[in-house]
Symmetry: C2
Subunit: 356 residues, 2 copies
DNA sequence: TTTGGCACTCTCTCCCTCTGAGTGCTAATC
DNA sequence: GATTAGCACTCAGAGGGAGAGAGTGCCAAA
């Protein structure tokens, strides 16, 4: 059952009026009164009639009045219904499309591309752009290399299929000769190329336990050192996600309150909650929207989040999105996020296949 | 001439009163009146006398009144004089010292150490902590390695003496065989080890121009590819500096104004200005303080910055500091920044010499 | 040089009023 | 039965004193 079916008893007229009301409120941020709504709706109804309808909508929990003598504004439920059933999505402006194509086609390393996408979102919407960096889940091993830095320290370079290079310095118990290191790298590269990063460590551990005796010295050494090298290779991500244009959020009166801002900016810093939220958007492809308290995180109470996932060559998935006040121009933000995600995905994949 | 000599005609009594006034204002943020100052000063002077002194101090531009019937508060000049000549630095609390030692002694990669230092500063002061990552200026070349990723793409790994590893993917015009790459790396490692990163590129360029004919094929190829590899090696720093606890700044009434906050947070994001400012702190060792507009950046108009530089093994210098409202507890912040810088320097250097 | 006294100045808070926008209800109208 | 005009009512917000409180500057006396 779609969410749209939640209010079956809603007449077409009531739906139309709700739509106008929400659009109007999104446009100027003022509670909408019966008088202006009657003018705007183009239905030739008197304010009194409109008032009756509005009372019904309020009973259904779709709109609310901040106080007796003010107009009505949408509730979260109202926004939800609007977004699910009433919204007429606007096509993207040509100029924006051009800018998107231009910025996401330029060469550069994938991290820059992600940042460009996020910045684009925040610049165009004047809200904050979010990018969830592709999860390394699907990442597969491509090659490894050991560089001795000193007696005790070895620099490990790990290349995965997702345009990604990880550096790590390990401190093995004993020293390894360059020849040993090269041999180890050769063995690992041959044995594990194409394997999922996540399973390599398990295999290594099993090897160490079960086949200790059967393995020859050289392989054993390789396994030993590789075990150190692959520690945390799945998790250790410098930046699980990035935000741009946070400061734009300060310009919205709804969010300008000190505590709210503090909460929001802390969340951008702490990241966990937002990462978790974004990961929930991965479950299903396409656009996903959280309105106000729907996200379940109190700091986002007066915010909405519009996201879309994008695919990366090699099996990873990421999410991009926009965060702003509940009162945002959904009809413009939604297609923007949608297209950006698609272009970003395309750009990332193209990059890994055919570099300039 | 020290700044302290700027007000030679200031009587001891006036200085003492100024000191009390500043301390008092820093403590509770309210303009200080003659009445409370006369009580606080312990000089057995009537408010009327105090008023005369205050009038003098105002004439000298050291204090100011927000309006006729309010008390006085320090001007930037007043703070400056206070900090330079009147301040009695408080020894650090034992508990803080312990925490510092503990947090900055734990093993981990240098980046984590820097972040820990910054976080410490922001947590202890309830203001924002800044860390300028050591400038690569002094960084010297240690080794280079080329990993072919595909026909056209080569991963360059560049290790410097400052615990730092840089990755870069280059797209040379033609393809290189693994053997060529190894040869090139060997040549470069032998030829440039210990050289300053900044001069290597110059030498390479010169080689290419002047000695083209005299160099043998192999070296020429190495030079060619190295030229690409060293492009921007000096500048390309993912994070020139980091900030922690920005959100703390929202709690200060002086800074809570929307525009000011926006400016500040944008500056934290844009980085250039702050980096430039911090770099100015590198010029001289030890504590450096910018009060309010002294920094020359408008966004910092109501903020003060307390910094200290720290040295890194291998010749690099960095800066750490605290940013907060001009009305901050200098007598506590200064020793804190000082000690943190020293411990951080020690920790970083120790790390590079004797890894666990 | 210090002090008490005094007139004066501002800000801040509280309270009051007025206005404008909007509502809900009722009775008349289509 | 749906729509509308009319009317009484409510409430936020702007504006305008009045009064209190905290300070000041200055003058004349100690």
């Amino acid at each position: 059952m779609t969410r749209a079916a939640k209010f079956p008893d809603l007449s077409d007229r009531a739906q139309h009026l709700l739509k106008i009301l929400v659009e109007r409120y999104i446009y100027d941020g003022q509670p909408v009164g019966s008088r202006s709504l009657s003018k705007e709706a183009g239905l030739n109804l008197s304010p009194a009639t409109i008032r009756n309808v509005m009372a019904d909508l309020e009973d259904l929990g779709l709109i609310t009045a901040p106080h007796t003598s003010a107009g009505r504004m949408p509730t979260v439920t109202g926004y939800r219904f609007f977004v699910d059933s009433l919204l007429t999505v606007q096509p993207l402006e040509q100029q924006v499309v051009r800018q998107l194509q231009q910025d996401l086609a330029s060469p550069g390393d994938p991290d820059d591309l992600l940042e460009a996408a996020s910045r684009l979102l925040s610049d165009v919407t004047h809200m904050a752009g979010l990018v969830r960096v592709p999860r390394p889940e699907g990442a597969t091993f491509r090659m490894i290399e050991f560089l001795p830095l000193s007696e005790q320290r070895i620099l490990v370079i790990l290349v995965t299929n997702t345009q990604e290079v990880q550096n790590r310095i390990i401190y093995p118990g004993r020293s390894f000769s360059p020849a040993e290191l090269t041999a180890a790298a050769n063995y690992l590269n041959a044995a594990f190329a194409g394997r999922a990063l996540s399973e390599i460590r398990d295999i290594l551990l099993k090897d160490l336990q079960e086949d200790r005796d059967r393995l020859n010295q050289e392989v054993l050494r390789a396994v030993e050192i590789a075990d150190l090298a692959f520690q945390d290779s799945g998790q250790t991500r410098r930046k699980p996600f990035l935000v741009t244009g946070e400061t734009n959020l300060m310009d919205f009166d709804e969010l300008a309150d000190r505590d709210r801002l503090r909460g929001l900016f802390s969340a951008f810093r702490r990241k966990e909650d937002l990462v978790h939220l974004l990961d929930r958007c991965l479950e299903t492809p396409g656009i996903k929207i959280f309105i106000g308290e729907e996200s379940g995180y109190q700091v986002l109470d007066h915010c909405s989040l519009v996201t879309s996932s994008y695919a990366v060559a090699g099996g990873g998935f990421g999410v991009i999105g926009v965060i702003g006040p509940t009162r945002m121009a959904y009809e413009k933000v939604i297609p923007l996020v949608d297209v950006t995600a698609k272009l970003l995905g395309a750009a990332l994949n193209q990059k890994s296949l055919s570099p300039s």
